[in-house]
């Protein structure tokens, strides 16, 4: 996906989540997302594909950027810009929704502490 607009628009604490009714699969090495409801098809580049796969409602944008920087060996600042742009475009295309970061349940916190 090409990048448009100023970078860094996504809330750092927000966790992008793929829309549950859109389907995606790799076609000849590239991720293709089929939105039957809107009758649209999207082809994602390598960065957007990486971001897409992590839009599970669990990862925040900075987390995704940190992972991307490690995998693609780019500096963190560039990764943050790329991920923010990709998330913004996916959101604008109606493919992902932004969810607030999940607050751990008391039991989970307890387990982590212990």
């Amino acid at each position: 996906m090409s990048t448009t607009g100023p970078p860094g628009g996504a809330r750092p604490s927000a966790c992008p989540r793929r829309r549950s009714d859109v389907r995606a699969r790799a076609v000849e090495g590239e991720m293709v997302v089929l939105d039957r409801q809107r009758q649209l098809v999207h082809q994602l580049n390598q960065t957007a594909s990486y971001v897409w796969e992590r839009c599970d409602g669990e990862h925040t944008v900075p987390t995704i950027a940190r992972d991307l920087a490690g995998v693609f060996e780019v500096d963190l600042q560039s990764a943050e810009t790329d991920v923010a742009n990709a998330v913004r475009q996916l959101e604008a295309a109606g493919l992902v929704e932004m969810a607030s970061a999940r607050v751990p349940a008391p039991g989970e916190m307890q387990r982590r502490i212990s």
Binding site: R25, V27, E28, V32, L34, R36, L40, V41
Partner: protein, 378 residues
């Protein structure tokens, strides 16, 4: 749909894409022709036909074509994966199915599978193997879904369709090639005896499957096209036939002519082949064409012109239906054209009175009761 004559554009797309002559300029088609090509399922073929045109990508309509092409690639991959998964699950539990229509043609005769639009997966199994095949499908997560009453499928050539809730892939499990109670149900071409002799072992992504012989595939294709013709999508079977004939130069035409002589299938085959030949999408030997033409009744010959004209205007050209020629009237006129008036003589050369003998009629009645077709295990 669109107004305006652009039929020659879509015929050129078929010629270029199916016959391996990509070199069509995008400008050969006006906007309405491009939109109609995409709507009628020829988007991927159009993308292939204009692949050598450097200006194609600059057209404002290119995203539409590219989107259709990408969607077709996605859906083809989805259907091929689903078929592969089904074949793996069938191994040892059900016989290798006979692949039919899109899932067979896309892999066997098209230059690339996605060029053949697919809405579902069709395969045929012996009647005895269907219960286990259907339970395997249920085990894979498919569910039966249909808006029709269950009784409809008792006499139909396939059971109630299966759909996978996650992938959206539909599967039709056929018990016969044609509906037993339909116009072709009593035709020996599609009967069990002939079918047995026309199955060929083959592979699908390294898995063992069966396919129809090219000869039976040609007749089945033409009949399925003629009996289910709709303006939208009616060109897909034309592409099927063009790719099949290009890929199979050694078709046994005398055998096809022997089968179809006196059969309801003769008119269906004649309509499709003469139309494609007229537009130079296929090139049949003149003698074969003459024999196909001679096989037709006088009425059929007379109506071929009307049939071709309907195809030109509404299927290839994509013209809007009007107040006189509504879509319903189009379907009505087409049905009248393909309706046969004589009883079938069968594919074994039986003729005249024999075909109308009481025994023959009894077999036809039995065929209605036995959904799998006359006297067969299919």
């Amino acid at each position: 749909m669109n107004a305006g004559p652009h039929g020659s554009g879509l015929i050129a797309v078929l010629r270029a894409a199916c016959l391996g002559q990509p070199g069509l300029p995008m400008t050969a088609l006006d906007e309405s022709a491009v939109r109609w090509a995409v709507e009628t399922g020829l988007g991927p073929l159009l993308a292939r036909a204009v692949a050598h045109d450097p200006q194609a990508a600059t057209s404002p309509l290119w995203p539409l074509v590219q989107g259709a092409n990408l969607t077709a690639r996605y859906l083809a991959a989805e259907h091929i994966d689903a078929m592969t998964q089904i074949l793996d699950a069938f191994r040892g539990a059900a016989p290798p199915p006979v692949l039919l229509k899109g899932i067979s043609l896309c892999d066997q005769h098209y230059p690339e599978p996605h060029l053949r639009p697919m809405r579902d997966i069709d395969f045929l199994l012996e009647a005895g193997a269907i219960p286990s095949a259907e339970s395997i499908l249920l085990g894979l997560g498919y569910r039966q879904s249909s808006g029709r009453p269950a009784a409809f499928y008792d006499g139909h050539h396939h059971s109630s369709p299966f759909v996978h809730p996650d992938t959206g892939v539909w599967v039709d499990v056929h018990r016969a090639l044609v509906a037993a109670g339909g116009a072709l149900g009593a035709d020996r071409i599609f009967g069990a005896e002939n079918l047995e002799t026309q199955l060929r072992w083959s592979e699908f992504r390294g898995r063992r499957v069966r396919r129809l012989s090219d000869e039976l595939q040609i007749v089945h294709l033409a009949c399925h096209w003629a009996c289910g013709l709709r303006a939208v999508g009616g060109m897909v079977a034309m592409a099927d036939m063009a790719c099949l004939l290009k890929n199979s130069p050694a078709v046994d035409w005398p055998r096809i002519l022997e089968w179809t002589d006196g059969s309801a299938a003769a008119r269906h085959l004649g309509l499709l082949l003469t139309y494609l030949q007229k537009h130079r999408i296929i090139q049949l030997p003149p003698e074969i064409l003459r024999r196909i033409y001679r096989m037709q009744t006088a009425f059929a010959r007379l109506t071929f012109g009307i049939g071709h004209s309907l195809l030109d205007r509404y299927v290839v050209d994509g013209r809007d239906f009007g107040t006189l020629m509504t879509e319903q009237n189009f379907n009505r006129v087409w049905r009248r054209l393909i309706l046969r008036r004589r009883r079938p003589r069968g594919c074994g050369g039986r003729r005249g009175k024999e075909a109308n003998a009481p025994g023959q009629r009894a077999r036809r009645d039995e065929a209605r009761v036995a959904p799998s077709g006359p006297g067969s295990s299919w």
